[in-house]
């Protein structure tokens, strides 16, 4: 490994070394300072990724502009989740070094998955962060729901890992290589074994993206996990999985069947996700089903890949991640202490806790795709890519389901700003600095991306070009 390789790999090394450092520091002296240490590690990895532009290809990993963009995106999401968790975990009695250390490890795994240049590294990266989430989801040992969610995620996750590994084995069996660049070179006719392998890989990734019909774990896990973990699980892990799909899709570029599979996945996900979200009464389950539905639009962008769908997919997932982090962050603050979960219980909270209420409202506007929030630009990018690719029917379904979605998102906003039933309630506690920052960053990103999206779109065009 040369010095240039080390320089390019440094963000991953910082994250991985930082996770071990936090574990060791926690063993010597436990305390709240570990979160500060973890935040420092993430910030330094983030700063290094932005400051040192390096393009290096080594066995297994390729640090490309694509990988660096995703590293910045995922590390920022991790940073916001850590800021959110600092206060939340203290209130909920989640102590110990395990939480920040595992979160850092998850970020390292995601970075490896996005920078993978062969299927082995892709698999290991994906499984590394999924593995970290098995622990994070069940981190609240006292809560019954947390343990149940952890077990459900573990069982579903191992099944998807088995499917993914089987797919990779079949691909290797048919071509004799795992390198993505070599696999993307299409021969005249695609072997059935190779196609079977790619399809199995796609099924494994569909689980991670919770595309219908591989979505069944999503509502239970999102509801059972602590809110900051759900925030990260529903955004960063989705982002890393989108990167993985974008790395896999060139393998089946010339195959009509691949397009049809994605088409069906997208249709089923948009319809099922939005319809199921309509009937939810718990806010976490509503957000979970909404995240299923949102991934349907990302799948629509995958269908439109030849017409700039890759750019639209990344833009969409960044906009979704900002809104998702903001909404789960606001929910974790609003549900403070008492386990507020039913939408009814959120009546009037917008007055009681104005900042968190406003952040939740903006995030929901963005998820619903109402301008000027980022969600509108993201939906616009996806639908226009779909129309350019000639997917008129699917784009129509997308627009219709997005209209349905407006109803259930606005239902929460209306509840937030209705008069509370029992009149005057005690004033909410003041937000701590880290909580305010964790709410402000994703909200600012949401607003800026919605008002002025062209810099990011240009950047993505350069990366995907």
């Amino acid at each position: 490994m040369t010095k240039a390789d080390m320089m390019a790999l440094m963000p991953l090394i910082i994250l991985a070394g930082g996770s071990v450092l936090v574990l060791l520091a926690g063993a010597v002296r436990p305390g709240g300072y570990l979160y500060g240490l973890a935040i420092t590690v993430v910030v330094s990895a983030l700063a290094w990724t932005i400051a040192v532009p390096a393009t290096v290809v080594m066995p297994g990993l390729a640090i490309t502009p694509f990988a660096r963009f995703f590293a910045v995106f995922l590390d920022s999401a991790g940073l916001v989740a850590l800021l959110m968790a600092t206060g939340y975990n203290k209130r909920r009695g989640i102590v110990g070094e395990e939480y920040p250390a595992t979160l850092l490890f998850a970020l390292a795994g995601m970075g490896a998955a996005c920078a993978a240049s062969d299927l082995l590294m892709l698999f290991l990266g994906l499984e590394a962060f999924t593995f970290a989430f098995y622990l994070l989801v069940a981190i609240e040992r006292d809560s019954v729901r947390g343990g149940e969610a952890g077990l459900k995620y573990l069982l579903n996750g191992t099944l998807s890992a088995a499917v993914l590994a089987m797919g990779i084995a079949l691909v290797y069996c048919s071509r004799g290589t795992l390198r993505l660049s070599e696999l993307a070179r299409q021969p005249a006719s695609l072997e059935p074994l190779f196609l079977a392998g790619v399809c199995l890989i796609l099924v494994g990734l569909a689980f991670k993206l919770s595309l219908v019909p591989a979505h069944l774990w999503t509502p239970d896990v999102y509801q059972g996990a602590p809110a900051p973990v759900t925030a990260l699980l529903s955004t960063a892990s989705k982002g890393a999985s989108v990167a993985a799909v974008l790395l896999i899709l060139p393998l089946m570029a010339g195959w009509r069947g691949g397009h049809d599979i994605l088409w069906c996945l997208s249709l089923a996900t948009m319809v099922c996700g939005n319809l199921a979200a309509l009937v939810q009464t718990s806010i976490k389950r509503l957000l979970a089903w909404s995240s299923v539905a949102q991934m349907g639009y990302v799948a629509l962008a995958f269908v439109a890949l030849p017409a700039g769908g890759g750019r639209a997919a990344i833009f969409y997932v960044v906009a979704y991640a900002a809104a998702g982090l903001a909404s789960f962050g606001a929910v974790s603050i609003l549900s403070d202490g008492s386990d507020r979960d039913a939408i009814e219980q959120y009546r009037g909270l917008g007055y009681r806790n104005p900042l968190a209420g406003a952040v939740l409202a903006v995030a929901l506007f963005s998820l619903a795709g109402i301008p000027p929030a980022a969600g509108f630009m993201a939906k616009f990018a996806v639908f226009s890519a779909a129309l350019r690719a000639g997917e008129i029917a699917l784009a129509m379904v997308g627009v219709l389901t997005a209209l349905v979605a407006v109803f259930f998102y606005l239902r929460v906003v209306v509840a937030l700003y209705m008069r509370p039933v029992d009149g005057a309630e005690a004033a909410a506690r003041r937000l701590t600095g880290s909580e305010a920052l964790a709410l402000a960053i994703p909200t600012l990103v949401t607003v800026v991306m919605g008002v002025y999206p062209s810099p990011l779109l240009d950047l993505l065009a350069r990366i995907m070009g």
């Binding site: 996770s19 082995l120 290991l124």
Partner: protein, 162 residues
């Protein structure tokens, strides 16, 4: 001949795994899993990978399964059949599966060492295996080792008594 042996061993592995899944008694299930892993080890030997075959037996069929048994014994799940030594008929399927694998292994060894003709493919020396593992896949090894560390952390955290 090697192809026939491969299919026999693959069949043994699949049957062993199915029995391991369907068996209700955890200790019996582990024994079936050991038979399945043993036949896979013989398959690796057949594929000119004696090192992987040895690892398979030592690590999977040996260490990990002993650990499983150890944990089950420690948890002491309280079985009604505890203390009753199993009937010889209960041993039969596992013994038959291992017997088939062992017979295949014997046939391969005799065929390879008995004939004077050099084999078509030579097995990779350990030095080469190590070079591939740590030079081409060094980063993957690092990532896996970190993952194992966090598996340990997770098991400790979730298993800790309040």
């Amino acid at each position: 001949m090697e192809q026939t042996l491969f299919y026999i061993l693959a069949g043994v592995a699949v049957i062993g795994t199915i029995l391991a899944i369907t068996e209700k008694h955890p200790v019996h299930a582990i024994l079936y899993l050991v038979t399945s892993l043993f036949s896979i080890a013989v398959i690796f030997y057949l594929l000119m990978a004696p090192l992987v075959a040895a690892f398979e037996v030592i690590l999977y069929a040996g260490a990990i399964m002993v650990l499983f048994l150890f944990v089950i014994m420690m948890l002491d799940l309280g079985h009604p059949e505890k203390g009753v030594s199993p009937h010889w008929r209960e041993w039969l399927p596992a013994l038959a599966l291992v017997g088939v694998s062992a017979a295949c292994l014997a046939i391969v060894i005799v065929a390879r060492h008995g004939s004077t003709a050099s084999p078509a493919a030579a097995s990779l020396p350990i030095r080469e295996v190590a070079r591939h593992l740590f030079q081409d896949h060094g980063l993957a090894v690092e990532l896996i080792s970190l993952q194992l560390l966090f598996a340990l952390v997770g098991a400790l955290y979730l298993g800790r008594q309040k």
